[in-house]
Symmetry: C2
């Protein structure tokens, strides 16, 4: 990538070697039969999504039998070959660089594409053209720190532009269709707290605490003491400041350290949006950390992006946005629990909630895009829009899921017999009453 | 087992070769140092449960440091060796034959024993004395029919003695502590129906329908048409009679056939208490059956006894009570879903509900034991009490779990966004209103 590595997302500019070595002014050259054949082949391998596919002469090289929902335009031959060589990485990089355009609603177009690709039973697209993707980088303590720094230390100001006011960067929970993002993030935090049945005076440990919103919420609304771990320096600094400002610093301790270094015994173990960065090789270790940290009658929750079946991570997302990330299937997640004799109490899939959360983030991002453009270049803006829109589409097409897994030690019998308490209004957090 | 094979449970009588080849009047002989050493060794290997362990001289060969919750009495040397040779099978058979006694509350004593065994981290009990248990018999269509006949065709009159009036032979759902068994079984059926969001006019397929209670319930309360499969001849005959009697024969079709022969397309796939009899080797096949039977926007539920981690089945239970049975861990269950690209929506663990259900069954069994004794011998009565009490204890000690797994095809997006509808009273089934 050479000089491009300075870019915050590693996004190569127009002619970057990272995308397509030979961009030889082909946009001015004509489109030939091979180009059109490749375009048709790409769409066939993608399961024939209901989209038009045009090349740099402006003509559709492929159009669907069904009513098209939008159009993909490849602006030069190098971009076409980049898709052939590495469909996910090539598409993402060339879109970021403005060498591929998406006409129509971004999320809808990507949803149609993902859905068609998933529908294509044999998934021959990846198998024939691409082969198996390399696995994510090693999430050793040192590797994790580098990976987390890449994404989460982009700058709090950037995230403040489009997240809710509490800076919650995980799936919200929409109790009804009218809920705003702020309300849905508040509801998500209550949902998590109710699932582990927090009570005043309890000790809670949080693994991967983001900007600290959930830790502060637990302390504020449930009267618990929290030790919250995170390896992102910027996030921890922000969270500590929030704790001071809200007078909760005596209840909430933010610790810039790896989840593997959690010590002590707790009534609840909470992890929302960290598992994606842990990697399957470390699930047993995570399970051991939880097993030694959770009191005998404690409850735990792991909230994570997941899959319906084990699959390779989208190469572009993994290399440009979330290095080291891996969303596991439930079978894979069980490595955390089965080896450590936990009893799974409850699993809920909130994938459509994350699709909606991401739509709202993208809307807010777009509303503030002029500010983003002052700080970053256009490739960053396009990459970020592709990431937010693409993830929303991936949740809509069920390419990815969102699992909340509640568990306890094997022999803990003083658990709630039903889940009705989760749906009882104002049971906890009396100051929480939007409708 | 020779002549003992005629017994409905295969329970050998007092001196049966199946239990202990050499029962040479040792109850009259004294207890020697080796006997006492074996007794202590057995209790050590079982994780030192808080129970006394006495031999045929009436003396405790082992007593716990903690307050004992009850006492196990081994009445002859052959029974002691039967436990050493095959802890689960030997104990179960000798208890059934009256050669082992349990003093104290049956469920509580077994709970203490199971809990201690599970606590013993290395599980060296099974490893050192027993080795790995043989796997369950093959559940091919022919094998399944034989296995199901063994248990479910014991006679409807027998089950009528101690099940609820609707003959529901699966985990009930206690919405509150005061609910009766009848109410809890009714509530379970509503809980299942709400989870798959039944609507009038829909087509439902049920795999493993027992005596037909759920199929009739769905037709009666939700106005759906049901095709219900079961390979137990006696159960299907009973279910057909119930359909006729209740005027639901035009809505519910009971079919004496294997789940593998399910045909047609359905809005809901329902299976309550069948998976235990399917066997992991056939989970992918089951998944394929569901995948081809469920409409694109259909919902499915699989309700099954499970485990926190893969483990060998209790040898006595597998050989005497439920041949071919195997309760899977969630990881193992995922073979049904992940290969067929289902999206898991919701998993709920109801293990404490099954513990309570089994307690109620045992109470009803005991209240009617004089009738059972007219039909079967004492070994049958004892075996059945050990089975009901032992399973209740196994759920209490978390040795086994009860999972309800709700799922849908990958791309079905018109699903309920929250689970609040499950806890809304009288949303469906207006005639259902106990409190």
């Amino acid at each position: 990538m050479g000089g491009d590595s300075q870019h915050p997302l590693g996004v190569p500019s127009g002619g970057g070697a990272g995308v397509a070595g030979a961009r030889t002014g082909s946009e001015r050259s004509g489109v030939n039969a091979l180009d059109r054949w490749l375009a048709r082949r790409i769409m066939q391998e993608a399961g024939n999504p209901p989209l038009r596919f045009a090349l740099w002469d402006g003509q559709d090289a492929w159009s669907p039998e069904a009513e098209p929902a939008g159009r993909i335009v490849v602006r030069d031959r190098g971009a076409l070959w980049a898709i052939v060589r590495s469909p996910e990485l090539g598409f993402g990089d060339c879109y970021s660089a403005g060498r591929i355009e998406i006409e129509g609603d971004l999320i809808d177009v990507l949803y149609r594409a993902y859905r068609a690709m998933e529908d294509k039973a044999s998934s021959s697209f990846k198998k024939s053209i691409l082969g198996r993707l390399p696995r994510a980088g090693k999430n050793t303590p040192g590797g994790s720190r580098k990976h987390i720094h890449h994404h989460y230390d982009l700058g709090n100001d950037f995230y403040r532009l489009w997240l809710d006011k509490r800076m919650v960067y995980t799936c919200a929970y929409y109790e009804n269709a009218e809920a705003t993002l702020e309300e849905a993030q508040e509801a998500k935090m209550h949902h998590v707290c109710r699932k582990v049945r927090l009570e005043p005076g309890q000790q809670v440990v949080e693994a991967g605490c983001g900007w600290g919103s959930l830790a502060l919420h637990m302390a504020r609304h449930y009267g618990v003491r929290v030790r919250a771990f995170n390896i992102s320096h910027e996030q921890v600094a922000y969270a500590k400041e929030q704790a001071e400002r809200s007078g909760l610093a005596s209840q909430v301790e933010f610790i810039e350290d790896d989840y593997r270094n959690i010590s002590g015994k707790y009534d609840a173990f909470v992890s929302v949006g960290m598992l994606e960065h842990v990697g399957p090789d470390h699930y047993e270790t995570l399970g051991e950390v939880i097993a030694r940290s959770l009191k005998e009658d404690g409850l735990g929750i792991v909230h994570s992006v997941g899959r319906s079946r084990p699959s390779a991570v989208n190469a572009w997302l993994e290399q440009r946005i979330f290095p080291g990330s891996y969303p596991p299937s439930l079978r894979e997640m069980m490595s955390i629990f089965e080896g450590n004799q936990f009893s799974i109490i409850d699993i809920e899939n909130l994938r459509l909630h994350y699709a909606k959360t991401l739509m709202e983030w993208l809307e807010r991002f777009d509303a503030n895009v002029s500010t983003v453009r002052k700080w970053y270049d256009e490739a960053f803006v396009r990459a970020w829009r592709l990431y937010l829109g693409g993830c929303s589409a991936a949740f809509l097409s069920s390419s990815i899921q969102l699992f909340q897994v509640v568990f306890t030690h094997r022999c803990h019998n003083r658990i709630a017999h039903t889940r009705e308490h989760l749906y009882r209004r104002a049971a906890n957090g009396a100051d929480w009453s939007f409708n």
